[in-house]
Symmetry: C2
Subunit: 207 residues, 2 copies
DNA sequence: TCAATAGTGTCTGTTAGACATTATGGA
DNA sequence: TCCATAATGTCTAACAGACACTATTGA
């Protein structure tokens, strides 16, 4: 979820005797019969009171140094919940901004990194940003989330034009006064049109 | 690798008594000490004489119906090799165009689907298309590969302009006469500039 | 009145895609 | 000669980003 100007990750206290004090929420794989997606949804259900609106696998991770739970292989998942979501685990869990993460097991560091990359990478294909906000939000809120996720400032007028063209939001008719300044209109996520034809060929080889 | 106007997948003969006659190349996970990437590279090394220029994990897969080898969880990888690459497994392996795949285990079908999606999705970030071609190629060859991967026709002049702007290829100075028509100049993959600043915000929610 | 934020209109540079044209080989 | 393909120049519509402006609140 977004906190201040960055994303925050939910961690749970590691059991006594661990090297690290915090770990990602996790669960051991049961025998069979449960899909990975269901298992991830279960882990999420135990961690937060609302179901993440978006939950996606980010890959399998294995390395020499084993997972805290002593399993040979971990499958990482990312989910998104709105800002302000409290964990249902109480004192056993806490949100950490990604820039201030405590020491984590190497494998968990890799999972967090992959999760952040997945978020940025799928931002235009999945309604991730909308899941990081409450059901009604201002366009400035939405732009702020996109800026957090993309890691760069966006142009206001251009952002709104693109949003309008994509028919993704609907005004609720309500307005919210946020301290100083003109009140902002509230919107809800309501995608209508779909599949704007992707233009152009990109050659963005970064690595 | 590309065949005709589509991609082809390398399959190996399934052991006697299996439900299906073909499977994806695979290997069981050793105890520990080997990373998943190394393991995938080993599988690739056994399957084709040249190392894939690009090899990437596409995710972990598990479901009720178990993998042919009776493992509970599989980690899928994709790689790319140039058109015409022969398998080093001889009669025990064969290339199948994706539209004409034989019956595969459900989990393997899912892996192939994820692999194809990964290819399309990472096309602009990894030099995938270049790994599907021999080291020197014509621009028409390259465009054909991009059209296969994207599943749509591209505009020739526009494609070449974008390619030029990205400084990804260098002319070799050689020319190749392909039946009729004017001979085409050969190019090699030689990326120079990097990180063309990504313009715009996309809202392409397709699903 | 001032400061701060929301929301819009206009202009400009870039570029994807259409179209047309030239170049150069084989049949 | 005709045909097929390569390669390139020009035009246009779409659009990202800059800039400027108005609107509406709280201090």
């Amino acid at each position: 979820m977004p906190v201040d100007r960055q994303l925050a990750v939910l961690l749970v206290r590691a059991p006594e005797g661990s090297l690290e004090r915090w770990t990602l929420p996790w669960a051991p794989a049961p025998g069979t019969g449960t899909s990975l997606d269901e298992l991830a949804a279960d882990v999420a259900r135990r961690a937060v009171p609302i179901a993440p609106g978006w939950l996606e696998q980010v890959g399998a991770f294995a390395d020499d140094r084993r997972h805290p739970g002593d399993v040979a292989l971990s499958v990482g998942f990312v989910g998104a919940v709105p800002a302000g979501t409290r964990s249902s685990l109480g004192e056993d869990a806490a949100w950490f901004p990604v820039a201030e993460l405590p020491a984590l097991a190497p494998r968990h560091q890799a999972i967090v990194a992959a999760a952040l990359e997945a978020v940025r990478h799928r931002l235009d294909l999945a309604p991730i940003a909308f899941r990081l906000l409450p059901s009604s939000f201002t366009l400035s809120d939405l732009q702020r989330v996109y800026e957090i996720l993309l890691g760069r400032r966006l142009h206001k007028a251009s952002f709104r034009r693109a949003l309008q063209a994509a028919s993704l939001v609907q005004p609720t008719g309500e307005w919210r006064s946020e301290g100083r300044g003109r009140p902002a209109q509230l919107f809800r996520f309501a995608p209508r049109r779909r599949g704007r034809r992707r233009r152009g060929v990109r050659f963005d080889l970064l690595g």
